[in-house]
């Protein structure tokens, strides 16, 4: 069983949903980012999403855009992000890691070599924002051959017909983008989520994670119960950004983010 499937199965028997925090690799520097990654499981992360910095993050709002720029300024490359995952895996063999990013760095690295290297580093899943199912043949075979789950995204305006079309080939879990919009802006209402999740369930048996607009412990708890997991990204990065001094990490950076993560985890586990 893959680490992603094992983790969701274990949580199901615990009777709760997952908390999936997000960090942008190398934000604001390699060392801080690795320390944050290493601290996340103990602070309550059930799975972890690592953003791969890209120069043109067209689906992201200002918070993650700024994080990507800090990561790039700190020298982030796809190869170095994989190295970061490898170092994390030295200490943690169980927490699933999902890389989230845009296609061009992967395309430039070479899809075949990337999938092999990512699996070897300990990556479990890939979310490629600008690679819809129509274009996923670029990665699908190599990802499958290496045991990597290509996570499919679903949006509020994805029709039932399309859900039935694209979800049978989904792997790992389904990522529900809760709003039509970019990261870190609006939040979906409880009613909207309550209407959306059954539509996805009707088309897939995989776990469903809700992302985009989940900022507070209450929202995280609600989302993890309405679906199977809650992704929190911009809210954590906002906290990280608030601890920086002229763009540099301070002694508060890692503790502040992990403290917020603990609060989110407490709410999800209640």
């Amino acid at each position: 069983m893959s680490r992603i499937a094992a983790r969701f199965a274990a949580l199901k028997s615990e009777g709760r949903g997952a908390l999936i925090p997000y960090l942008q690799a190398f934000d604001p520097d390699a060392e801080t980012s690795l320390a944050l990654l290493r601290g996340m499981p103990a602070a309550g992360a059930d799975l972890i999403e690592i953003g791969v910095p890209f120069s043109d993050p067209a689906a992201d709002g200002p918070t993650i855009q700024a994080a990507a720029l800090r990561g790039l300024a700190a020298g982030a490359t796809l190869r170095k992000v994989l190295e970061m995952v490898r170092r994390f895996r030295e200490e943690d063999r169980d927490t699933p890691v999902i890389l989230m990013g845009y296609l061009n760095p992967i395309d430039s690295y070479g899809p075949r070599r990337f999938c092999a290297d990512a699996a070897a580093a300990g990556v479990d899943g890939l979310i490629v924002v600008d690679m819809p199912p129509e274009e996923s043949d670029l990665l699908a075979a190599d990802a499958a051959a290496n045991g990597l789950d290509v996570i499919r995204l679903v949006a509020p305006n994805t029709s039932d017909a399309r859900l039935r079309e694209i979800l049978p080939e989904a792997r790992g879990f389904i990522y529900y983008v809760a709003i039509t919009g970019i990261t870190g802006t609006r939040s979906a209402s409880a009613d909207e989520l309550a209407a959306a999740i059954p539509r996805i369930r009707a088309a897939s048996d995989l776990p469903v994670a809700i992302g985009f607009g989940i900022r507070t412990p209450e929202q995280a708890a609600h989302a993890s119960r309405t679906a199977d997991a809650a992704v929190v990204a911009s809210a954590l990065i906002h906290t990280l950004a608030g601890t920086l001094d002229n763009g540099r990490a301070t002694k508060d950076t890692v503790p502040a983010v992990l403290h917020q993560l603990r609060d989110l985890a407490t709410a999800v586990r209640k």
């Binding site: 796809l78 845009y102 061009n104 509020p156 983008v177």
Partner: protein
């Protein structure tokens, strides 16, 4: 569409894109899931429109009475004498309403947006020509208009920013990245994804997710169709060369496309070489880039070894884009069109030459095309014919040119 629709003819270079929106390996629909229903709706709506004779009649009416088409094909006699070689014709797209070829595409897409019931238009702009054209048709039809423009470009294209304001558009400066066209494109896509219900994204060039490259090309192909008729009337034969400047590549695609199946007509796209093709400061995606994925399509991109997109550089804000339309990438790979570069300085020299020999002040964008004509024409015998697409007028550029000539206005 006319009966000679190349989509139905075998072995035509004009048949692309395929069902996946690809020209060879280029193009496609590389967008977030939230945008998939929108690009598919657009595909369906455009397909219906292009098969509807009344859509073409309406477009023809606006082309004639509002845009001012057909644009003349002018024999540039003094320029020809000055260069002492091939005969040079200028396709006068700068005489269109709003001063460039941009209005051809905008007119077509705004009619489509109205058919689709959209009430709010967003667009990206570099030099401001596409922004002005979009603001113009939004004024004409009473639609809400939001233009994203890089903060750097807002600064260097002030007259166009003011024009857009006068036309009732909201101009949103984009400070992300280097504040140029690429960043404006990102921001326009973010707006579109956040306003899926009422908003139409009016892409200004032959790039972006399918069906934009094809649709924009179709609307711009009026340039090449007219050129064909006009040169046959003037010379009784097709030209030997067609030259056009390339940023995203819409004016070039528009004049190239009707000639793709005419092997005797050589097609030359001129990219902005900026400070020189070897300088690292260029906007020459084909000469200096490689295949990658950005803004919804696979195409040649300026990028570093890690797949991060690089900032383009050109004296001309309209060419300052690190990508190029996917059909050009394909034409380059199959060798049907040739892509060369012209530097900032060569464009400035060409700008002045045309102004003094023909009394036509060209946009700095098409001055790049002219710069190549200046090296090409003298090498050719006098019975050869070159057509240059003069895609825009240069009034907007006089401040930039003055600055480079050391003149304070």
């Amino acid at each position: 569409m006319p009966a000679s629709d190349p989509q139905t003819q075998p072995n035509s270079l004009r048949a692309g894109p395929d069902w996946r929106g690809r020209f060879g390996t280029f193009g496609g629909q590389f967008v977030a899931e939230t945008l998939i229903p929108l690009v598919k709706d657009l595909e369906t709506a455009y397909e219906a429109a292009r098969n509807d004779p009344s859509f073409h009649e309406t477009l023809a009416y606006y082309f004639r009475d509002y845009v001012g088409r057909p644009s003349p094909l002018w024999f540039a006699e003094r320029l020809t004498q000055e260069l002492g070689g091939a005969k040079i014709y200028l396709k006068r797209e700068e005489l269109n309403h709003t001063g460039s070829h941009k209005l051809n595409n905008v007119m077509g897409q705004i009619l489509l947006a109205r058919r689709m019931g959209k009430t709010r238009i967003v667009a990206e702009t570099g030099a401001g020509q596409h922004g002005v054209a979009t603001a113009t048709v939004c004024a004409l039809f009473g639609l809400k208009c939001v233009i994203y423009m890089g903060a750097t470009d807002v600064e260097r294209q002030k007259p166009n920013v003011f024009r857009m304001h006068l036309l009732g558009a909201e101009v949103k400066p984009v400070t992300a990245g280097a504040g140029t066209l690429k960043d404006a494109m990102n921001e326009a896509m973010r707006d579109w994804v956040a306003n899926v219900a009422d908003t139409y994204f009016l892409v200004g060039t032959v790039a972006g997710p399918h069906p934009y490259p094809r649709m924009v090309r179709d609307f711009q192909s009026i340039i090449g169709e007219e050129t064909r008729e006009q040169i046959l009337e003037a010379e009784g034969r097709l030209p030997d060369y067609i030259v056009a400047a390339i940023g995203g590549g819409s004016n070039a695609m528009g004049i190239f496309h009707p000639f793709l199946d005419e092997p005797s007509v050589k097609l030359i796209g001129v990219e902005a070489a900026g400070l020189g093709l070897e300088s690292g400061k260029t906007a020459a995606s084909i000469s200096r880039g490689r295949s990658g994925v950005l803004h919804g399509n696979r195409t040649y991109l300026l990028q570093d070894g890690n797949g991060q997109i690089e900032e383009a550089h050109s004296i001309s804000a309209g060419l300052d884009y690190p990508g190029i339309g996917p059909e050009h990438s394909w034409l380059h790979e199959i060798g049907r069109a040739t892509y060369v570069g012209a530097t900032d300085q060569e464009a400035l020299d060409a700008f002045q030459l045309l102004t003094r020999t023909e009394g036509i002040i060209p946009a700095l964008e098409c001055a790049h095309g002219l710069a190549h004509v200046m090296t090409l024409a003298p090498k050719l015998p006098q019975d050869r014919i070159i057509v240059l697409n003069l895609s825009g007028r240069g009034d907007k550029d006089i401040f930039t040119v003055a600055q480079h000539l050391g003149v304070t206005l």
